[in-house]
Symmetry: C2
Subunit: 234 residues, 2 copies
Amino acid sequence: MPTPAAFAATAALLGEPARAAMLQALLGGEALTAGELARIAGIGASAASAHLARLAEGGLVAVHRQGRHRYHRLASEEVAAALEMLGGLTLSVAPRRPWPHGEAFRAARLCYDHLAGRLGVALHAALAGRAWLRPAEGGWETSAEGEAGLAALGVDLAAARRARRLACDCMDWSERRPHLAGGLGREIAACCLRRGWVYRMATRGEDPLARRRLALSPEGARRLEAALDLRLEG
Amino acid sequence: MPTPAAFAATAALLGEPARAAMLQALLGGEALTAGELARIAGIGASAASAHLARLAEGGLVAVHRQGRHRYHRLASEEVAAALEMLGGLTLSVAPRRPWPHGEAFRAARLCYDHLAGRLGVALHAALAGRAWLRPAEGGWETSAEGEAGLAALGVDLAAARRARRLACDCMDWSERRPHLAGGLGREIAACCLRRGWVYRMATRGEDPLARRRLALSPEGARRLEAALDLRLEG
DNA sequence: GGCATGCTTCGCCGCTGCGCGGAGCGGCGC
DNA sequence: GCGCCGCTCCGCGCAGCGGCGAAGCATGCC
C-alpha cells in the first residue's frame, strides 16, 4: 500500500474535471491527440497540454508522437480498471438522475481495449464455465479446448500471449462481476470488432462516451451462441 | 458512467493527503473518532472536522454518534474496493522505494471488513474450487456443502445473509486476483479473528496501516488446511 | 452546578493550481 | 521558402481550498 501522499497524488490527477473528462474519453481505447482532448475537456490548448504533461508524468497516460500530432492513450489496463471502478463508486455514492448512456452502457461497451457490460461479463462466465480458461497465477490460462475454440473463432492467441498478462479479471462496475482483461481480453474484443460481431454505436462525435457503446450484431449473437452457448436476454 | 464532473468530485475527495490518510486508516475496518483521524492525518481538529463533513457529504464515510464521540467508518465496501484499487494503481504507476509494510501487507491483511492478501485470495480460490460457492447473479451463493462446511467452521451464515450482498468479488491489488467480499467475506473474517486463527499484528499505535496487517496463527493454519486444504507457502 | 472533553462553526490568511493569451518551436504542404 | 497548423513554454490573474485559532455547543464526569 502506498503512502497517503503518493496515493493522494495519483487520486488528485483524477480529481480535476478537465483531466477526468480526458481520461474518460481515453477509456474508449482509441489514442487521441492533444487537440481532440482539449476540445473534449472544453479548455484551451495550453491548459490541455499542461494537464496531459502531468498525466504522463504521473504514469496514467502514454504519449506517442507521430508527425506534428501527439497521440495519447491510457498507460495500462490498471489505469482503465481503476477508472471504471471509480466511475462505479461515483454512481453508487452519488446516485444522479439517469445519465443518457446509462442503460446502453450496461449492455455492452469497451473498457479501454476489452469487452465490458453484460456482454463482457457473460463472455467471462462462459469461458470459465466451459473450462476454456482455468485459474492460474495472476489470472487465467487457456486450456487445450480453450485454445482450439478461441482459434476457431479467429482470436489471435499469439498476439494475446505477447501481452504482459494473458488474462486477468477486471471488475465490471455495472454488473459487479468481473469481465476479462489482459492480452486475451484485448484480442477477443479486437476479433469481435474485426469480424463485425460487435460494432461501435458511434465512431465520431464530440461525446467521448458514445464511442464506447457497443452493439452485438445478429451475426455476432449467432456465432457466440454457437461457440459458447452464450445468450443475452437483450 | 457518471459525468466527468461527478467523477472528478468523487476522485477529488480522495486526492487530498489528509483525507487520503483518514480513508486509508478507515480501511482497517474499525470505526474511528474524529480526534483519532485528526491525529492520524496530522492536522487540527477543525480541519479534520471539515474534511470528514465533506467525506460524509460525498457518501464515502458513514458517521455514528455515541455520546460525545463521533465514530466514522467507510460507507460501503464499494468505497473500500475503490480505495484498494487506487492504492494498487499508485504502486504500479509510481514504483517507490519499498514501503515498510509492503511485504507483510501482501501476505494477509484486512480490506475494510474482509480478508485480503495471499490469504484472502487463497481462501477465495479454495471456496470456489471446492464448490462451497457457485456463481450467482451479482456474485456468489453458497452450495449445500458450503453451508455445512462454513457452519462447521463457526461462520455466522445468518449474519452474512443479512448483508446487502451475500458474497461478491473484490479485486486484490497485490495478488491481482479477487478475494471474497460481501456479508460472507465479513463473517469469515470475523470468525477467524474471533477464534484467534488470524490476529492483528498491531492493535494500537498511530500508524493506521499497521493495524490492517494480519498474521495466521498455527491453530488457524491447521484448521484452514483441515477444512479447505488451504496451504500458504509462508 | 461546575468543569473538562470532543467536536463543530466562523473568520482569516496563505498558497496552490487552473485557465488564458502570447510567444516560441517543430512538422507538413503548397 | 513561406505559411499553416499542432503543440509547448512563459507570465499573469484569479479563485478555491486547506490550515489555524477562537468561540460556541453538546455531552459526560465529579
